[in-house]
Symmetry: none
């Protein structure tokens, strides 16, 4: 690797911008996730996707809290002990996760009611800023055979940034496109992992809780850019790696279990990267090149003196040679004039103002689109 990239300095006061070598990626690390994350440098990961265990068995997995334990208010000591151990484990891995995550990176954690509340609290307590909780609504969940509760038909994901003012990645347009031109909501209906996709080993399922690729697909498409480095500290059979590879993202997996490692590596090798042209997603206008209104005047797309109106023809404004707009004694930018006339705090002049063409009113944004098509390579 050795590619240098600039990392924005947002880690506390007085931090300086650092040039950091990109981390070596597309690899599986065999070992304990806390110990292995500890070996990674600060701020090297763009996104962490974590599917932590919640059925910590007594014995090997049981994690002892390091500090003095708070007095249990309750008599249920055994349960408290187990919960405290789980919290300590969660604090430990999330602390490392937070350290290696870039300032503008985000973390996803998935779980069920057994553990997701505890994960959410530790995230908040460590200073992560929750952006959404997402409900994966399973299209085909396992029924509740005994009829004693509601069918447990969903799992919960938490999406969080490092801090309240992080500049995180969210591909809004891509999500809206993926959802037939409606905003993507916080509830996702997706089938559970089964059929061909479910990995087998000796005829039985290779992993008890393999996640569907469609779930990771949406997560990675929404919140990473091509080339971003995604780390999964509980890699299992490598769904995160397989989807990252398909979508042109880099991945790092950490997994303790030998068999899971084997299965994951085979699987990822077999998953083909998508063609570059297919990975493309709808860009936000935010990321499109900007066109000043004045440019349209300069280049003749609009004549100085042209008349613009709002869609209801309530106001009539004149375009001036410098790209400003004159209307009812006002003379300012297309946005300001629109806002002032409406008495609104702000206004998008591009969609507010219209020009007449063939008897129709069209928003001046259409002119901008025409200009962009004509001038972009």
């Amino acid at each position: 690797m050795g590619v240098l990239e600039r990392v924005p300095a947002r880690r506390g006061k007085g931090a300086v911008a650092l040039a950091q070598p990109a981390i070596e990626a597309d690899r599986l690390i065999k070992g304990d996730c806390i110990a292995e994350m500890a070996k990674l440098p600060d701020a090297c990961i763009d996104m962490i996707f974590a599917d932590p265990p919640y059925n910590l068995q007594l014995g090997g997995d049981l994690f002892r809290p390091e500090g003095g334990m708070v007095d249990a208010v309750d008599d249920d000591w055994d349960k408290f002990d187990t919960l405290a151990a789980y919290d300590a484990f969660t604090h430990a891995w999330m602390k490392e996760a937070r350290r290696i995550l870039k300032p503008n990176g985000t973390i996803w954690v998935i779980g069920s009611y057994h553990n997701i509340f505890r994960c959410g609290v530790v995230l908040q307590d460590q200073g992560f800023w929750i952006l959404n909780d997402i409900v994966w609504r399973k299209a085909n969940p396992m029924p509740n055979f005994r009829g004693t509760r509601f069918t447990n038909a969903h799992e919960t994901l938490i999406w969080a940034s490092q801090s309240e003012d992080s500049k995180y990645t969210f591909n809004y347009r891509a999500m809206k496109t993926l959802n037939d031109e409606l905003q993507m909501r916080s509830d996702w209906v997706l089938p559970i992992c089964g059929g061909q996709e479910r990995l087998k080993r000796n005829g039985t399922k290779a992993h008890p809780t393999q996640k569907p690729e469609a779930l990771l697909y949406r997560v990675l498409l929404a919140c990473t850019k091509p080339g971003d480095v995604v780390l999964d500290p509980f890699f299992g059979t490598g769904t995160t790696g397989a989807v990252a590879r398909r979508l042109g993202r880099k991945w790092i997996g950490i997994e303790r279990d030998d068999t899971y490692c084997e299965v994951a590596l085979e699987r990822i090798a077999a998953s083909l990267p998508l063609d570059e042209s297919a990975i493309g997603i709808m860009q936000s206008p935010r990321q499109a090149p900007k066109v000043a209104f004045g440019t349209l005047v300069e280049t003749g797309y609009l004549e100085p003196g042209a008349i613009l109106t709002d869609v209801k023809r309530r106001w009539k404004a004149h375009v001036r040679a410098d790209g400003s707009l004159a209307c009812e004694g006002l003379n300012a930018s297309i946005h300001k004039v629109g806002a002032t006339l409406q008495g609104a705090p702000s206004c998008n002049g591009w969609t507010f103002w219209h020009y007449e063409a063939d008897g129709d009113l069209k928003p001046i944004d259409a002119l901008r689109q025409t200009y962009l098509l004509a001038t972009q390579p």
Copy 2:
């Protein structure tokens, strides 16, 4: 009152069966919920439904795209200085709630990602046993106006018993009947509270966060028996009381705010106990499941990069990773691209676009049907 009932002894070892007078019910207590619960005897309540403050921590004003301002929840009762202060408050009211709840009673708590994780942890830490987490999927949530996150389209409810071996009430058959003979799942689609149901005071909403009666209806129908006593420590405008009365359950409400108390009492007085035969109208109609084109890409029914054509093979388009279609410089949804290419105002992309299978052209709608068949119960 004065009716005696037997309370099974399940409070730790060596407890004896107690005969307790039934608590006075169907009343509103004005005051602080912690202080007022403290005055109630042990083990006198069958169910607690709690809608505590969410601790939203909103920033500045938020404007809608068309200029209007969002009427945010900025009430003093929702403000806490720190997460620790919120936790302390939660511990305090839940401790009293646990004491007054019968051994076989259950508690419901509703919240959003701002507070629900903390509520869940306190429940677990106090020894409550979580039975389900329920997702209320809002049919008509407020959109995310700035396109910065996923639309926050749900709230979460936690249902918990006093302990792992409680003999709690769950009316399995009633839920299955309510759900068209399918097991009731952990995700409930219900509209938010609006229209006639939304209580007004001087022309504006009487309470910023009034819950829909349909939500309480399902909760009470599922987890209480007729005659049970339901307590709501954050009574607000009394949705819990109104529904309890309709369903023949007894209720106790605790509320600090004078105006909320007034509104609640008026409302409950006006809510008539329900005739058995009227219950049917509460059933929400099953909705035809919608499938976004992007879902077919996510779930592998179509690969990114796949080629689609119209039935006359006049145009050739490429499927992209986000479920958009690329064709002749255009990149948009299946419907928009179809419309633009034909110069039509609109186009049903599902029937317009075809894929090739075994030398035949098939509409992509066929894939949608296949997907539905595979994922619907």
